[in-house]
Symmetry: C2
Subunit: 383 residues, 2 copies
Amino acid sequence: MSAPLAGAAGGDRLSATDRAFLGRSVELGRKGWGRVHPNPMVGAVVARAGVTLAEAHHAEFGGPHAEAAALAELGERARGATLYSSLEPCAHTGKTPPCAEAIRAAGIERVVYWAAEPGAVEGGGGAWLRRRGVRVAGPCGDVAGWAAENPVFFHAARSERPFVALKLAVSLDGRIAPRGGRRVWLTGPEARSEVHRLRAGFDAILVGTRTWKADDPMLTARGAVTPRVPPRPVLLDRRGEAVRDLRALRGDGAGRAIVVTAPGAAGRVEERLGGRGEVVAVPAGTRGLELAALMEALAGRGVGSVFCEGGGVLAASLLAEGLADRLYLFVAPVVVGGGGVPAFPVTPGDRPEDVATLMQGWQPRLDPVRFGDDTLIVLDRGG
Amino acid sequence: MSAPLAGAAGGDRLSATDRAFLGRSVELGRKGWGRVHPNPMVGAVVARAGVTLAEAHHAEFGGPHAEAAALAELGERARGATLYSSLEPCAHTGKTPPCAEAIRAAGIERVVYWAAEPGAVEGGGGAWLRRRGVRVAGPCGDVAGWAAENPVFFHAARSERPFVALKLAVSLDGRIAPRGGRRVWLTGPEARSEVHRLRAGFDAILVGTRTWKADDPMLTARGAVTPRVPPRPVLLDRRGEAVRDLRALRGDGAGRAIVVTAPGAAGRVEERLGGRGEVVAVPAGTRGLELAALMEALAGRGVGSVFCEGGGVLAASLLAEGLADRLYLFVAPVVVGGGGVPAFPVTPGDRPEDVATLMQGWQPRLDPVRFGDDTLIVLDRGG
């Protein structure tokens, strides 16, 4: 999905072979999507003279780390080899013993790693191994690149607020639905499968009032990856209109839903839902529920990442308030026409300078990917 | 740029190694962009037991074909090897002797090729080699995939009309310019360099009246590839307003410009331009110059491919009239706002069913590519 090492600062001292194995370790790490968070996704390769001896990835939260798993396969055969890892080997004992010790014990001669463990410096596995005479190259690249691969993990290291990703499926003319907003699939089945796979990597799936009223979505991850912890559906419901029978509240295979309403409506909603879903009150302003307060409330419930699936107004508000970190934009090869619902609603009252700066600093750091007839562009917020 | 062999029909009998070498031959062929047309871009690899012995591509119109060039490097060492080519080896004597003979003479044991030479069947190099006991696998994939790699070449095999590609640089909200249409760069320098590279592969660069009046563009290919034959600028000028001093008419490094006007204005324009550029008269309807007649006139002047760079109205007309074959869509990570100029202008009078079918059958057959902060999506017309 990505060429994370291309042009990355600090990669100069690496050979083409090093870079290829490091790229492979990143690729392997991705297999942990939906299964390892809140841990990072990590892959590792052990190689000698350009030949792969073992490959592994962190496959399950609480299970072996990638480096340890790769070494475990090899035993004595690892002696003198090079270990490549997409993340700095850990030097602490957590759920598993530290990888740095396993690397040293296995007789690995050289370690090449990509991303620095956030907060580690002298306490990290890189420094620990260097002090013990192992040749170490890393970290390579920069935190923006690392965060593109492990967005939730690196976000959590510097922010209390959940990581927020917006998903939008748009036509070539930037619309998310035809006139009147009736439900249509702009994108094809491959793109929709990818959305289900993406959902599996988030703690919560957020939708605005109009979206759940129009579509009554299940908000479950029904794709190639079964999430270790099913994401919790989060329904915005300022006016307190949610009913027990909504699919997202029934909980078939989903995490327990959260219905977010204004303080004045909370009691009424709670009563109506009768224990189906958790009701959360958040202050409401003139333009709707206060989104920063919403994020705080979600963080307080252990939600570290939010996948927002619409609608356009909610997405635009999150963008405008600086609460969005990533945009998954699926571009469908269709034209909806001028009457369609815009993906980026800008009202006549918005000042042009605000519009122009809406996406300032946003960049694609992952390569775009084709899913059937649709194209996924992933944009990450700068800084 | 592409994964042309993925999922391609007919590729089942190929091993992963075969597919990798065939993919490499396609990749090599691309190096001929801007230098070989109207010939196809072709690359070739000679390999034995999975190891590359030689690589080559068709580098220059009139110069050696890829297969012959790869074999010429090897001499006797080619004996018993496998030759991979992105196009069926030729069996005819054109500007160079037939590749099929060279392949047989070199003692190649097996030939794997991707695209079928249009029109060849029994007369093609594949059949010629099979009859002489060489093991041959090919063609693989389908004409839609081959045409995605060599669009002008495969288009020419089935149509008299020039191949027409539209280039649009759009914001996330589907705009090509802010309100009022003033000139801004939505895309960054990497995308603009790519546009210059793309121009080198076309016979002509077409712009509508408003575009040349607003921008006075040079319409030359000033990128990484110097075109063998500079593309001819084509300016639409229904009302006969072009003047001698337009940059595109001055001809610095460009092909001789064509100014297209209505029959009633042709004499006047010709006089005013005084030999700078060629004046071509084309019937005009109520909505502008007749575009089908324009294409016929261009074909009559040897123009086999047209790169249309705007504006939006011209692009929309070409799409609506079924005269466009490819869309190069550069998506910039900016939002322009509701007052901006739409990339796909749909007027209130347009019937919704016409809008919905505007892009019907269009598909991305090449992978999307990131250029700096922008993403290029290439869409090809179906059928």
